[in-house]
């Protein structure tokens, strides 16, 4: 009996987006696949999912002690932190300008410029620069970051439905990539891509962040949303063909399981191991539904995820 032919032929293809240019020692391309994740027999998986390590411009006071232990002193200096992240195997540095938040330092455009400059000098990797997540401050520091890094093709984010124009304008004016973040909804993701595209930014400069929850905190829901995004994109919906980035570290490290070891049942086992696996497991789950770029926090989960991706890409 003949084995039935199961290969799908998709009409669409994921857009390839390249991060890094100018003084970057290396560039990172993501996306470009013509099939679902790692179905090498069916289509091309043009680029392996990339890993970004998150670096904050301010010593985080709400991060797990496990992360502080892992990174040590460099956490007080984003440039040193970025250099160490490069050493530990990051493909991309995700610099968070958290100190600009009104309640966490309220630093401004000039500080942002200085930080971005310092980090660009400390690493050869491409950059993502995130604002503090507060509308006015995002607009202030991301514009400054985009200008400072002109020619380096960094990604700036997040552009959201309520606040995308200034960020996209800054990306347009300085030839940067923009991250379009929408709250776990196919249609909202689509709408934001359309709105951002309407401003005239080329498709090879948009990455989408469909938002995720961590393992046990809604990862299955985001898995399903991302799966639908990807099926629609491969099915030919041009408004959903942007590669996807996910802030896995942020989500995983705020779960109770990763954050604390106080008053938890003994059978939960070793805290450090549990926390690292929590992050790695979330990341590997999402890679299997189409994540192209993962923003992680712990060096050991970076290593685990990298190993998993190596194996998933083995058939390429």
């Amino acid at each position: 009996m003949a084995v039935p032919e199961v290969k799908e032929k998709y009409a669409g293809r994921i857009q390839e987006v390249t991060l890094g240019a100018g003084s970057r020692g290396k560039t990172v391309a993501i996306g470009g696949e013509s099939t679902l994740p790692f179905l090498h027999f069916e289509g091309t998986v043009a680029n392996r999912p990339a890993i970004a390590i998150e670096v904050s411009d301010r010593e985080p006071d709400d991060w797990s002690p496990l992360l502080k232990e892992a990174w040590g002193d460099v956490m007080g200096d984003p440039a040193k932190w970025a250099a160490k992240a490069e050493e530990l195997g990051a493909d991309v540095i995700a610099l968070s300008l958290d100190s600009a938040h009104p309640e966490r330092g309220n630093t401004g455009a000039d500080d942002a410029r200085k930080t971005v400059r310092k980090v660009l000098e400390a690493t050869t990797l491409p950059l993502i620069v995130y604002g503090p997540g507060q509308k006015d401050k995002d607009n202030e520091v991301l514009v400054a970051a985009a200008e400072e890094a002109k020619g380096e093709r960094i990604a700036i984010g997040n552009a959201e439905e309520k606040n995308y124009r200034t960020i996209v304008a800054a990306a347009l004016a300085n030839d940067q990539v923009v991250i379009a973040k929408s709250p776990m909804d196919v249609n909202l993701a689509k709408q934001l891509n359309v709105l951002i595209g309407d401003m005239g930014i080329p498709k090879d400069r948009i990455i989408m962040d469909p938002t995720t929850g961590a393992l046990g905190y809604g990862v299955e829901y985001s898995y399903s949303v991302m799966e639908r995004v990807r099926l629609a994109a491969l099915g030919g919906d041009a408004t959903l063909q942007q590669p996807m980035v996910l802030t896995v570290g942020y989500e995983a490290w705020r779960t109770k399981e990763a954050r604390t070891n106080d008053e938890v049942p003994q059978e939960w086992g070793d805290w450090a191991q549990r926390a690292i696996l929590w992050e790695a497991n979330t990341a590997i789950t999402l890679v299997n539904t189409g994540a192209n770029l993962l923003v992680l926090r712990h060096p050991q989960s970076v290593a685990l995820v990298r190993k998993a991706i190596d194996r998933l890409m083995a058939g390429a």
Partner: protein, 752 residues
């Protein structure tokens, strides 16, 4: 296109190209062809020339090519006898004018004559190298980026290039202040008989410079070229275009840079030629003198050239007139103004929406049982109203004793290029939410059953009748800016005027009812989708037609139509019906195709009027659930507020699990409660007469509407023949009830 303008523009262009030619040749003779030319701190060479021709001009010699190119763009003026289209020629001469003007300014830069020396001019913020006593000249790249981002993200709605000299200093100051108030960037240039608006503002002590968003380019018309250089660079910087892609650059400006030209004072040939240049960019020209108009739209979004003779503008003072002129300019360009704050003396926000004002805390009420209040929103001609004008006609409530009542009518007049009469009720209904947002104010009802209470606390803080108008004005602009350009509010308490307008409002309500009744599926070309709920029901698509509203009850066809205008990329998209496949069941090619494409290919056929054959899917938000009761040869309708047992042996919440989730299950569907009254309600199965059981709360709240349906169906007692949870909670109880009442479903043809 006016032939007069065409002729003048071509004459003006020819003159300036010749002038550029002479000045350039003289400069080359004096300084040599290799002499460097550059504007202030820009990476875009001579930007207009770069945009139009792609030439990166950096020395005088290269400008010869530009002048030669200009000459190819010049045409003979249209003859008096021969009638040919001349829009193209006029636009070409406009382009030639711009290139020649930039050439002249470049030569002047080389000779140190630009930026222009203006004695006593002190700019607050400038990139001009001359220091005090100089005009700004061209805007440098740093400022371009800073402002460009604001233009692109919408914080700055656009720019106004003012050329000439205002009627009076008073008019000049008002023009500028009105533009500043709206965050519109102001560029100044030109003169009339040697006197420029720059002089006028200087005399009046108006601060100019980057910091005040007022940039004086220079006192001659030619310096207006810097405005177009700015526009060109905006497209190059933010539109990702490169030099020479002139078509894209011009379109970018037309659609994204909301700029216009105000021509003040006499318009000479050169000004016509420069205006023709601006029209290339889609920037309309508004003149304060009598000139021929070019009203049809085409190159610009709306009118091209509008004449608004200053003397003829309504208003007692130059200030009034200038204010109206700015208003008109904004309309002609279609600039949208953002209003973020509601200017009232009490806190405002959706957090106050649910607030109730008890009688003891009440200062005054309008409507309710002791007085009448109404709200009437109507669309009017743009010229007949003034945006932001709020008038109270009649006494306020100071004479009314505490806790008393008063008649009041609020007439809201709106105008907008995209406004349609059909949107009147959609917008009017929003007043409920708008007014309720004010702390200490309560709003109930709509139309002529409006009931508004002001609390003592709100009145103590200074809240008055006029503030209702402020709320309407601010919120309509904020929420419906896409369709509304102007809002004027008049509040009537004067008894005579109140009655007069109440009568007008009632007539309008009546007309709307008639219109709604006439709004039927077969009379429209398009239905609307709603995919708002796909986040949890990914394969569900609501198809909303005039005769079948959304199943949640929140969106009818008109709401969706307005929603689409406001948010063209949102969840309500037009569905063009296309060929009708089955008129009885309500199946069209267009709706099927749309649902297929938007349900992840899960649903390929939807009947709008049938419950048995491919019924519409549901998300889970439905107001009522309709389900087949085969034993009774009919259907039951369960309200989501009804917790009781139904003849199907399940309660609403159990049934909802079967009906929702985007699944197509023949025999069960979720609907909005007003669909029950539609002629198309399960029309394929025989319509409303199929209803054998209905939750009693629906019967109560829709008593009037259902009575009308019963009459329409030719069975006035029909509602009494329908069982509810009080008469039957099982099929065994239901059937004898129906037999006894003689329900028509029992003798209809089999539903299965």
């Amino acid at each position: 296109m006016s032939k007069y303008i065409a002729k003048a523009a071509i004459r003006g262009a020819t003159a300036i190209v010749n002038e550029a030619d002479q000045l350039l040749e003289a400069a080359i003779a004096d300084l040599g062809a290799d002499k460097e030319v550059a504007f202030t701190n820009t990476a875009y060479y001579l930007p207009t020339i770069l945009g139009f021709t792609g030439k990166e001009v950096s020395n005088l010699g290269q400008l010869r090519d530009v002048v030669a190119h200009c000459k190819t763009l010049l045409n003979e003026p249209p003859g008096d006898e021969l009638w040919l289209p001349y829009l193209g020629e006029t636009l070409d001469s406009g382009a030639a004018t711009l290139l020649a003007a930039e050439t002249i300014e470049a030569v002047r830069f080389v000779r140190g004559q630009q930026p222009e020396k203006i004695d006593g001019l002190q700019l607050v913020g400038t990139s001009a190298p001359g220091g005090p006593g100089y005009a700004n000249g061209p805007i440098d790249d740093i400022q371009l980026r800073a402002w460009g981002i604001q233009l692109v993200d919408g914080r700055m709605p656009g720019f106004a290039a003012i050329v000439g000299c205002a009627r009076s200093n008073e008019a000049a100051v008002t023009l500028i202040r009105e533009l500043q108030k709206r965050n519109i960037l102001v560029f100044l240039s030109g003169n009339v008989n040697g006197r420029s608006i720059i002089d006028q503002l200087q005399e009046e002590g108006v601060e100019m410079g980057y910091d005040t968003y007022i940039v004086p380019f220079g006192r001659d018309t030619i310096s207006a070229i810097y405005a177009l250089g700015f526009a060109t660079r905006s497209a190059l910087t933010f539109g990702g275009m490169s030099g020479g892609q002139i078509r894209d650059i011009l379109l970018y400006n037309k659609f994204r840079v909301f700029a216009f030209v105000l021509a003040l004072g006499e318009v000479d040939d050169l000004k016509y030629a420069a205006a023709a240049g601006a029209i290339n960019y889609g920037f309309p020209v508004i003149a304060d003198t009598v000139i021929p108009q070019i009203l049809p739209t085409g190159v610009t979004a709306y009118e091209h050239v509008v004449s608004m003779p200053f003397d003829d503008i309504e208003g007692d003072t130059d200030t009034d007139k200038a204010r109206r002129m700015v208003q008109r300019a904004i309309e002609v360009r279609g600039v949208k103004i953002k209003i973020t704050d509601v200017p009232i003396p009490v806190p405002y926000g959706s957090a106050f929406e649910g607030e109730r004002i008890r009688r003891a805390d009440m200062r005054v009420e309008f409507g309710g049982s002791k007085s009448t209040a109404f709200e009437y929103l109507r669309m009017v001609d743009s010229d007949s109203i003034e945006d932001g004008r709020i008038t109270v006609v009649g006494p306020d409530f100071s004479e009314i004793k505490d806790g008393g009542a008063m008649n009041m009518g609020m007439v809201i007049e709106v105008a907008g290029r995209k406004m349609q009469e059909d949107f009147e009720p959609v917008l009017e209904r929003q007043m409920h939410y708008f007014v309720n947002g004010a702390s200490g104010i309560q709003h109930v009802g709509q139309r002529d059953i409006t009931w508004i209470r002001f609390s003592k606390a709100a009145v103590d803080k200074g809240f008055g009748l006029k503030n209702l108008g402020d709320i309407a004005h601010a919120r309509l602009h904020a929420e419906f800016g896409a369709i509304v350009d102007k809002v004027q509010v008049t509040i009537y308490t004067d008894p005579e005027k109140f009655e007069e307008w109440l009568a007008k409002a009632r007539e309008a309500y009546l007309n709307r009812n008639v219109r709604l009744a006439g709004l039927i599926d077969s009379n429209v070309e398009e239905f609307y989708s709603c995919t708002l709920c796909q986040s949890f029901a990914p394969t569900h698509v609501c198809v909303i037609s005039p005769e079948r509203l959304g199943l949640c009850g929140a969106y009818n066809w008109l709401d969706c139509k307005a929603s689409y205008q406001i948010n063209p990329t949102g969840p309500n998209q037009p569905i063009y019906k296309g060929t009708c496949i089955d008129a009885d069941k309500g199946v069209w090619e267009g709706s099927n195709a749309f649902v297929y494409a938007n349900s992840q290919q899960a649903v390929d056929n939807v009947s709008l009027y049938s419950i048995m054959d491919s019924p519409m899917t549901a998300c889970g938000c439905f107001e009522c659930l309709v389900m087949l009761i085969p034993e009774a040869n009919g259907v039951m309708v369960v309200s989501r507020e009804d917790p009781s047992m139904t003849p199907a042996g399940m309660t609403f919440s159990t049934l909802a699990g079967v009906a929702g989730g985007g699944l197509q299950s023949p025999g069960i569907m979720g609907v909005g409660k007003y669909y029950l009254t539609s002629k198309k309600f399960i029309a394929a199965e025989g319509g409303f007469k199929r209803v054998v059981w209905m939750s009693s709360n629906l019967k109560a709240i829709m008593a009037d509407e259902l009575k009308q349906v019963a009459e329409r169906e030719g069975d006035p007692d029909l509602i009494d023949k329908i069982a509810d949870e009080r008469s039957a909670t099982t099929v065994e109880e239901l059937l004898p009830f129906l037999e006894e009442k003689g329900h028509p479903a029992l003798v209809m043809e089999s539903i299965i």
